[in-house]
């Protein structure tokens, strides 16, 4: 369950602030960077709620703050104003308890570690036993269909496989929350479609909450239960679209009128948010 500023009415009336199903909750969140050219309002007055099991996409043009918002959730940036809780605690506490897994745009696998040891990296840092590590590595590599590639080095794998390994690495922490920052942005469309389908299956199987940053409309509509349309200068939430597509989707759904209707609403939102105007 989720809400954006202009659409207060969308909020489920049954929701209370202490709702146990709310994973991320922000209140009037703002972030301003001080630069040599004056302050940059990366995020302004963000009110957002992400419920457990949701698949939420942030979409918008570059500079709209979608990645910054994700980084604030992950405690990689600190807000200058407003409040935010992740799992009911501050982002820092959430990070220290390894409450989330983060997938970057680049796979960022260590070239000196095999795939298996890359996936084991966060587990080593958490201080898990060797047996537990091996078990989790095996399980999560299977989950992303990379069983059999344990002993390979990342540079011997294709871009899509590398990104799958990095998703396995994020899953190995066994978090309830998965934060993904344009994870498929650098891949070609064919691979991207394939991985999108796999990601949906994974989400269904694991029942995790996913926050997903993208700049592709079809990708956002295909994956999400909620689509957050953001607009730039200052970075803010313009619209939140709840998708009524069935959870069990295949790529074919993209040709259905329902899908196209939602995609159209997203595009309209982007246009009204001046996303298509010339930006610097």
């Amino acid at each position: 369950m989720l809400s954006g500023v202009p659409y207060e009415t969308r909020m489920h009336t049954t929701a209370t602030p202490q709702d146990s199903t709310s994973v991320i909750r922000t209140n009037n969140l703002s972030l301003t960077f001080e630069t040599n050219d004056g302050p940059v309002h990366a995020l302004a007055n963000i009110d957002l709620e992400v419920g457990a099991g949701d698949f939420v996409s942030f979409i918008g043009p570059s500079g709209c703050g979608k990645t910054t918002l994700l980084r604030v959730i992950a405690d990689l940036e600190q807000p200058t104003d407003g409040s935010i809780t992740v799992n009911g605690v501050t982002p820092e506490e959430a990070r220290l308890t390894r409450a989330y897994g983060y997938v970057f745009q680049a796979a960022a696998l260590y070239p000196w570690r095999t795939i298996a040891r890359n996936v084991a990296l966060p587990l080593e840092i958490m201080g898990l036993s060797r047996r537990e590590r091996n078990e989790r590595v095996r399980r999560n590599l299977e989950l992303v269909n990379l069983a059999g590639f344990e002993k390979k080095y990342p540079w011997a794998l294709s871009g899509g496989m590398q990104q799958r390994a990095s998703i396995a690495r994020a899953l190995a922490v066994e978090p309830d929350l998965l934060l993904m920052d344009e994870p498929f942005g650098a891949l070609d469309e064919i691979v991207r479609d394939h991985l999108n389908e796999q990601l949906l299956k994974l989400w269904e199987k694991t029942k995790k909450t996913v926050v997903f940053v993208t700049h592709s409309i079809p990708e956002a509509v295909f994956l999400s239960t909620h689509i957050v349309v953001m607009s730039p200068r200052p970075g803010r939430i313009f619209d939140v679209i709840e998708s009524d597509l069935p959870r069990d989707r295949t790529l074919d759904i993209r040709e259905t009128p329902e899908f196209l209707a939602i995609a159209h609403r997203v595009r309209e939102g982007l246009r009204e948010g001046h996303s298509y105007e010339d930006t610097v």
């Binding site: 220290l96 983060y102 960022a108 000196w112 990296l121």
Partner: protein
């Protein structure tokens, strides 16, 4: 056949052919090795004939062609070296030398043009080609010094150096122990080790990093060998003063390289470690040190040559009566140039092995780096 290869074989054939009209030696044909050289001439002409018109030579694979050409070339070299030992050479001798040399070059050209996916063969070729080149350098050196009667004092022949080397292994070993095993290795370990540790320390303080890095860069460019006389005054004539020079010479390259290596991790990798709530030491050992390894090995390689230079030069400023630098300067004074060259050979072999060892270690530790992947 490429144009260069054609030119080489034609040149070799012309030179070999001309030996029939030019005197092989100053005294004519009355020596025992002449049949050897005549056989060589015949072989060259045969090779050229095979190549003429149509490249029959390359109907076999290039490996066989290269081996054939190289074999004939070495056979010629053998005959020439035998000849030069007996009598004064004539113009025909030098023509034969040119022919053999051109074949040596052709052999390298052919071997270098081989492209193969076979790893073992690739490795052997990578080894064989420079060895062939080096062997020919030595052959030319031998033939010229002996053929032109170059005075021993100016440039001894490789065989004379080799003789001296085998006769004085005891002295060479003592010098090697003093200079390399003590001064160089101890100084190198201390210099690189302290440079690395100081880099780790100043890495934690941005202020020190900004203050020390420009100075470290500057000092790396200064003629630090100049501290040798001071170190000899402070630490005495024996090896510790040489090790001290080596420490100072190797410290700064290691410091500067390690600091830039530690800064080499990308922001995204740092963020990744942060999402795992990794501590400073976990970040250091699991991310930043592996990332810094190529830089650290770069410093280790630079330092391996610097260390040898530092130790030997420091010996010029005072030393007990052993050591490679000491031996070189005293034997030069006595005009025993072959002994000097024997010491140089020891230094070259030790230096190359040292460098080779570090390169090997580098390949093992940084096999993942783009420059080594295949």
């Amino acid at each position: 056949m490429s144009r260069l290869q054609t030119i080489l074989i034609v040149f070799a054939a012309l030179c070999a052919g001309s030996t029939m009209f030019l005197g092989l030696t100053a005294e004519g044909y009355g020596i025992s090795t002449v049949p050897l050289l005549q056989a060589f001439t015949g072989a060259v002409l045969l090779l050229a004939a095979i190549c003429y018109g149509w490249s029959y030579l390359f109907m076999f694979n290039r490996l066989v062609a290269g081996a054939l050409v190289g074999g004939v070339s070495l056979f010629g070299a053998y005959g020439l070296i035998q000849t030069v030992g007996e009598v004064a050479p004539g113009p025909g001798f030098w023509a034969a030398t040119l022919a053999a040399w051109a074949l040596g070059w052709l052999c390298v050209e052919i071997l270098a043009s081989i492209e193969t996916r076979n790893n073992v063969l690739n490795f052997l070729l990578r080894l064989l080609i420079p060895v062939a080149f080096g062997a020919w350098l030595l052959i030319i050196w031998e033939l010229c010094t002996r053929g032109f009667n170059v005075p021993q004092v100016l440039l001894p022949s490789p065989s004379a150096i080799g003789d001296r080397f085998t006769q004085s292994t005891a002295t060479l070993w003592v010098d090697f122990k003093q200079t390399f095993l003590k001064a160089v290795l101890i100084g190198y370990a201390l210099g690189c080790g302290s440079g690395f540790l100081v880099a780790l320390l100043i890495d934690r303080s941005p202020f020190l990093k900004r203050g020390l890095l420009p100075i470290g860069n500057l000092v790396s460019a200064l003629p630090i060998v100049g501290v040798a006389p001071i170190m000899v005054m402070w630490f005495g004539f024996d090896w510790p003063s040489k090790a001290a020079v080596v420490v100072i010479m190797t410290f700064f390259p290691m410091l500067v390289n390690t600091v830039s290596g530690l800064a080499a991790s990308t922001a995204i990798q740092g963020d990744l470690m942060k999402t795992y709530a990794a501590g400073y030491w976990q970040m250091l050992f699991k991310m930043r040190l592996p990332e810094a390894l190529p830089f650290i090995f770069n410093a280790l390689k630079i330092n391996s040559t610097l260390a040898l230079i530092g130790a030997i030069v420091a010996e010029f400023f005072g030393t007990p009566i052993i050591g490679m630098g000491f031996r070189i300067s005293t034997e030069v004074g006595r005009m025993n140039v072959d002994m000097v060259w024997a010491e140089i050979a020891v230094a070259a072999i030790a230096g190359s092995l040292f460098y080779g060892l570090i390169t090997l270690l580098e390949r093992l530790c940084t096999f993942w780096h783009p420059s080594y992947r295949n």
